[in-house]
């Protein structure tokens, strides 16, 4: 049995390279083609990078919130706008003081800070539209709260690439603590020169499209996007059933090669949900396509689940959206559950070149068109691992 009260992810807003809104994202997720990634040569010096950019125009930040006017907040707003009606209803019914905001980000408004400093180099002062609220991590959650009129607790989590998953974990705990009756939780991250140059310097970015779990994998493809949920107490719909967390105590940028940290977070999430490994119908891998990540993650998955569980990395479709990836991949799991019909789960395929790595256990990588037949209520899992060895695993489920 789960050791916590029921927690419902009751509305989803999502934006990434696959599109704006669940209606665009879901069919393209199942199509499983990385054709929406684009090549950009403006992000890192002397490099052309294939990235998952959001090409749709983003909403304008309202004039009254001009201090927050940056691309990362516009990305979050694109997701928020999709669920504005249920969010407004929650605020009306629960009261602004009883609603919280927890958002994950690893970039905040760095891309706009780059513009502001570029302007300073030419004009001698920061670009006039720049405000520190765009750059500081707390600015993302504050923007969301000020936009919606939320007056409960408001904070941004930033644990690199596990930030978005952690935001959902904290939202559930804020409900359990009785501090909030509803929480707006999710994450947003934006393509910028800093992360493109930084991951390039770490030799972590591949040429072309990331190729997770292949013997030819050579690194990640960057992406951008946002996913935001309304998190409320109670049964029904898609539930956040389990949270598992661990630290690796190993290295700032490289995972510990045995996969002990991810194994602990996956086992922790199962224990928190009160479920055996057999109850999980699908796992969305962290699956960055770096040589170290995929090997240690697959070793850990094989120890926890064996090799029959359907798994996929969706990063070839949207790029690695860094701090947003935990929320975006939780959103993909949410869509898998929400769109399930008559005991059949349609699963996001694993795009790769099909060349197995003899050093990686042969997991069941989901093929295009594949679905899972269910004998019990569907439960799925998603992994997120961040720099500094910060791991978070979530289990989502719904009743039949």
């Amino acid at each position: 049995m789960p050791n916590h009260s029921p927690c419902r992810l009751s509305a989803l807003g999502i934006v990434n390279a696959l599109g704006v809104g669940a209606g665009e994202v879901w069919p393209r997720l199942l199509d499983g083609e990385p054709s929406r990634l684009v090549d950009r040569d403006d992000l890192a010096p002397e490099r052309r990078l294939r990235v998952g950019a959001v090409d749709a125009p983003l909403p304008r930040i309202p004039e009254r919130l001009a201090a927050y006017d940056c691309r990362n907040n516009a990305m979050a707003l694109s997701a928020i706008e999709q669920i504005e009606e249920p969010l407004a209803r929650a605020l009306r019914e629960r009261g602004a003081e009883r609603v919280g905001v927890v958002m994950g980000t690893s970039t905040s408004g760095v891309s706009d800070a780059e513009e502001a400093i570029r302007h300073e180099f030419h004009a001698g002062r920061l670009a006039p539209k720049f405000d520190y609220a765009q750059l500081e991590f707390g600015g993302l959650a504050s923007f969301v709260a000020d936009y919606l009129g939320v007056r409960g607790p408001v904070y941004s989590l930033s644990t690199a690439c596990s930030s978005g998953a952690r935001a959902l974990a904290s939202a559930r705990s804020l409900l359990a603590l009785g501090v909030c009756d509803a929480v707006v939780a999710g994450a947003a991250d934006t393509l910028c020169g800093l992360t493109a140059s930084g991951f390039s310097a770490l030799s972590a970015i591949c040429e072309g499209t990331t190729n997770p779990c292949s013997r030819n994998r050579a690194g990640l493809s960057l992406g951008e996007g946002a996913a935001v949920f309304l998190v409320q107490p109670g049964h029904g719909g898609v539930q956040l059933l389990g949270v598992g967390e661990s630290s690796e105590a190993h290295h700032m940028s490289a995972p510990e090669p045995s996969g002990a940290g991810p194994e602990a977070s996956m086992r922790g999430a199962l224990a928190d949900a009160g479920l055996p490994p057999e109850a999980i119908a699908y796992l969305n891998l962290h699956g960055t396509g770096t040589p170290l990540n995929d090997k240690m993650e697959c070793l850990a998955v094989e120890r926890v689940f064996g090799s029959e569980l359907p798994v996929s990395s969706t990063k070839p479709l949207v790029g690695h959206t860094l701090g947003a990836s935990g929320a975006i991949e939780a959103a993909f799991c949410w869509l898998v559950l929400d769109r399930s019909e008559a005991g059949v789960l349609s699963l996001p395929p694993h795009w790769w070149d099909g060349e197995r790595d003899p050093e990686i256990p042969p997991l069941h990588l989901v093929q295009k068109g594949e679905s899972a037949l269910l004998r019990s209520a569907p439960r799925v899992m998603t992994n997120s691992f961040g720099f500094g060895g910060n791991n978070c695993t979530l289990v989502l489920g719904r009743s039949l």
Partner: protein, 238 residues
């Protein structure tokens, strides 16, 4: 459960480097010095070499707050409004000049760098979180620490709030006392230490003290005052 006990505390600021110095400070609080950092000699040399002033300050307070045998056992929450932003700005300048970045500097400026280095130095494999919340960073970090007690009531949570003075380019854009400091609290559901109830009231605003919220919390913790309010956030002794 919004009640937790403060089992231990520790703090560091330039010139306030011992518990006795902080006890004197809480009797006559004054603005903290803006610049300075400790050596943090307890850290292994390999790790210490790469530690920023913020990391040295945060981990010095952390180490002072946890008994050696428990360093690897506690869950950790690290809060910082600015985090590694001064180092990030240096890198942003390099990006704008189209220069190559140092991979080590890049990986050490994530917001969870202090948490990660703590876990490495303490060989701690427990859950860890890092956050920021503008003016409310201290209170929201405290609340995030409570969420970890909610997830695992038997555990202890080490909560560290730390910041350093912001680089001049942005300091003028931020209205707050410029200080370099860390305050660490060891929180648990049971044990020896004052039990505090935490509450949130969306309507009240209190004036900003001339020192960081974390310092004001410490002043209150060591006083005999019943209640503390920092903005919309309130603590009361049980």
């Amino acid at each position: 459960m919004r009640t937790a006990r403060v089992l231990r505390w520790s703090a560091w600021a330039p010139g306030l480097e011992t518990p006795e110095a902080w006890r004197a400070w809480v009797r006559a609080p004054a603005p903290l010095a803006p610049v300075g950092h400790p050596e943090a000699r307890f850290l292994p040399a390999m790790l210490r070499r790469r530690c920023s002033p913020l990391t040295r300050i945060a981990l010095t307070a952390a180490w002072g707050c946890v008994e050696e045998g428990q360093l690897g056992q506690v869950r950790t929450v690290f809060a910082s409004r600015h985090g590694s932003v001064n180092e990030s700005i240096e890198m942003i300048e390099q990006v704008v000049r189209r220069e190559r970045l140092s991979p080590t500097q890049f990986s050490h400026t994530v917001h969870n760098a202090q948490a990660a280095l703590y876990c490495m130095a303490a060989q701690n494999r427990q859950a860890s979180c890092s956050l920021a919340a503008r003016d409310d960073t201290f209170a929201c970090g405290y609340l995030e620490a409570l969420t970890h007690l909610e997830r695992e009531p038997e555990c202890l949570v080490l909560y560290v709030m730390a910041d350093v003075q912001l680089a001049p380019r942005f300091a003028a854009l931020v209205d707050e006392p410029e200080s370099s400091y860390a305050v660490a609290l060891l929180l648990g559901r049971a044990g020896d230490g004052p039990a505090l109830r935490f509450d949130l009231d969306g309507t009240q605003r209190t004036p900003t003290p001339r020192w960081p919220h974390a310092g004001e919390f410490l002043r209150w913790l060591l006083s005999d005052e019943e209640r503390l309010s920092l903005g919309r956030f309130h603590w009361a002794r049980c």
